[in-house]
């Protein structure tokens, strides 16, 4: 007989994995402790009240949320296409979609600059014809963030669509549901947890985005200077302020991730 307090063998973690797992935890937690230890606790209040901090935090929350919405609007249809329609060149498109994940964000920012910046054909046309300037603007920040965040959403949703049970969609068809009804009433509800998980990942990636944003948009307070950019700028001038800003970023991220993770994002 097995002892009662012993988990079934299949569920038990081999002890040999434990040290490495503990090292991993330390590796992730120690830098945070480093931040806490360097924080200017005595004048934290004053540092955080600086107008630049409020501007950066507001801009970060607004742009990362807009980026997430943009990723949802574009990424879910793209994931659909990649998961469900075997068009020629699909393998290539799948590789392209994941490219922003491996590319250094600075390269992404440079690419955006040369494709949509003022001196690019598209950018100059946008400015001449529509009086729209994307580079060095808040919409540009959203674009840069979306560029790096989109793959996270696409890959998550695509995986759910590929793993999903097509039998349910067939059943819906025999009940008279056309493609749109199947999508709306069967497929989307079934993959909703994965869409949410993908959106959270995309939001987190957008919130932390630095390289593409600063390359494409510079660092203009209130317009393009998001939290990561504010932290970077403060590091040179006032390291204490940088640490304080970092802690705010950590706190905001943690609150959102913990709140969402427990409740809705079992797929995460």
């Amino acid at each position: 007989m097995r002892r009662r307090d012993q988990a079934p063998a299949a569920g038990r973690v081999p002890l040999a994995l434990l040290p490495a797992a503990l090292v991993a935890i330390a590796f992730l937690v120690l830098p945070l402790l480093g931040l806490l230890q360097r924080a200017p606790w005595s004048d934290l209040d004053e540092v955080l009240r600086a107008p630049a901090v409020g501007d950066a935090l507001r801009l970060s929350l607004v742009t990362s949320t807009l980026s997430t919405l943009l990723c949802l609007a574009l990424g879910v249809p793209l994931a659909w296409l990649l998961a469900r329609s075997p068009f020629p060149g699909r393998a290539l498109v799948r590789a392209l979609v994941t490219l922003p994940m491996v590319l250094p964000p600075v390269v992404g920012g440079a690419a955006l600059l040369y494709s949509l910046g003022r001196r690019s054909p598209v950018g100059s046309w946008l400015e001449d014809a529509l009086d729209v300037r994307l580079a060095f603007s808040t919409p540009g920040v959203v674009l840069a963030q979306s560029f790096v965040a989109l793959p996270f959403l696409v890959i998550t949703v695509q995986g759910a669509l590929e793993a999903g049970d097509r039998g349910l969609e067939e059943a819906a068809t025999t009940l008279g549901a056309g493609r749109w009804t199947v999508l709306r009433r069967v497929t989307l509800p079934r993959i909703a947890p994965s869409v949410l998980a993908g959106a959270v990942l995309a939001w987190a990636r957008a919130l932390g985005e630095f390289g593409a944003t600063i390359t494409f948009n510079g660092s203009l307070q209130g317009r393009t200077q998001t939290m990561p950019l504010a932290v970077y700028q403060a590091l040179n001038r006032d390291p204490g302020a940088a640490v304080a800003l970092s802690l705010v970023l950590v706190a905001v991220s943690l609150v959102v991730l913990v709140a969402l993770r427990g409740r809705w994002t079992s797929a995460l």
Partner: protein, 359 residues
């Protein structure tokens, strides 16, 4: 609802086997589609539902052509007036029983209120009025099966297709759901096709059986006829008969394949001398002896026991000999004979107990 029913010639290439089946089902008739796994039964249903386009042939329901590749006509599944119950049910896990049953009505444009009212009515008819608000994953097997039936029937389809509707249930639930299912099949005005490989389901639910094997119809007829005079080893096995192919003699005897001559009864006059026939042997007509028996039975041969299996008040003994047959004997007889696999045994069958009919 009135119509001319279902007329279908279904040709589908399935790689290893080609499905080629003609099927006609009258309004109100329930056809049981019987056959071994991989015979093409499910593919046939899917072709009728439009989930699998025909390679060749036609599907016509109530004079409307649903699929005819020769005429380049294909009505997609969502526009066919067909209700289907899948073998694995496929209830929507994110919906309640009521919303699941209402799905077909909503998809066909019925407003929310009336759709819900109809769904509740159907749940009541299958005895699940109390479970309208239950999410489908929380339903028991029998309940889920009944919801699937209600869901297929709620939009008032012109054709009902059921793929092994009772196969996932345990014996007790099965009998219960079979009763519900039979009541609804009887009440259903259109043609219905029920795929099964269970003898009881086939014999109690269907008005007519169509036996399919390797993509072809191998037998068709009233359930009693098919059960009494099966034409395929698979059906014979299903209803517990030994099926011996052979050739009829002028004197009424039959030479089984392999050369053994069986004495048979007078027959019903349908068998002509020289004709290829089946001899069906019921296990209850077979007697076993340790030594060669004397007396009237004219069919006696030595055999070897290959299997012994208890079933309720009987023991089924499989034997191999010039003709392979099974015998049903009592437990007491088994004790007297003390048979185990490998034992020699004498098999005896009365000539009048053998049923002979054309192949």
């Amino acid at each position: 609802m009135s119509g001319s029913g279902l007329r279908a010639e279904v040709g589908v290439a399935l790689g290893a086997l080609d499905l080629d089946v003609a099927l006609a089902v009258a309004p109100g008739e329930v056809v049981g589609l019987l056959g071994p796994n991989g015979a093409g039964k499910t593919t046939l249903l899917r072709a009728l539902a439009g989930l699998r386009p025909l390679g060749a042939g036609r599907v016509v329901l109530d004079d409307v052509v649903l699929d005819a590749p020769g005429e380049r006509r294909f009505v997609p599944p969502e526009r066919r007036p067909i209700g289907m119950v899948f073998q694995d049910l496929r209830l929507f896990p994110h919906l309640t029983a009521r919303d699941d049953v209402a799905f077909g009505l909503r998809a066909r444009g019925v407003a929310r209120g009336p759709a819900h009212a109809t769904a509740l009515d159907w749940l009541d008819r299958v005895g699940l009025a109390d479970h309208a608000g239950t999410r489908t994953p929380s339903l028991s097997g029998g309940q889920a099966q009944r919801v699937a039936l209600a869901r297929a029937l709620a939009p008032d389809p012109a054709l009902l297709l059921l793929d092994e509707p009772l196969s996932a249930l345990d014996a007790a639930t099965r009998a219960d759901v079979r009763r519900v299912l039979r009541a609804h099949l009887t009440a259903f005005a259109g043609p219905a096709v029920v795929v099964t490989h269970d003898a009881v389901d086939a014999l109690t639910l269907a008005d007519r059986l169509v036996v399919v094997d390797e993509g072809r119809v191998v037998q068709e007829g009233p359930p009693g006829e098919v059960a009494r005079r099966p034409l395929s080893p698979w059906v014979a096995d299903l209803v517990g008969l030994a099926l011996v192919p052979g050739t009829a003699h002028p004197d009424g005897a039959v030479t089984a394949e392999g050369g053994h001559v069986l004495a048979v009864g007078p027959g019903d006059g349908t068998v002509a001398p020289g004709q290829a026939v089946h001899v069906a042997i019921r296990p209850s007509a077979v007697a076993l002896f340790r030594s060669r028996p004397d007396g009237s039975p004219r069919n006696v041969w030595p055999a070897v026991v290959t299997g012994v299996e208890a079933a309720a008040d009987r023991v089924r003994v499989q034997t191999a000999g010039p003709v392979a047959v099974a015998a049903d004997i009592t437990h007491a007889a088994l004790a007297d004979l003390a048979l185990v696999p490998g034992d020699p045994v004498w098999v005896s069958v009365k000539a009048t107990e053998l049923d002979v009919y054309p192949r």
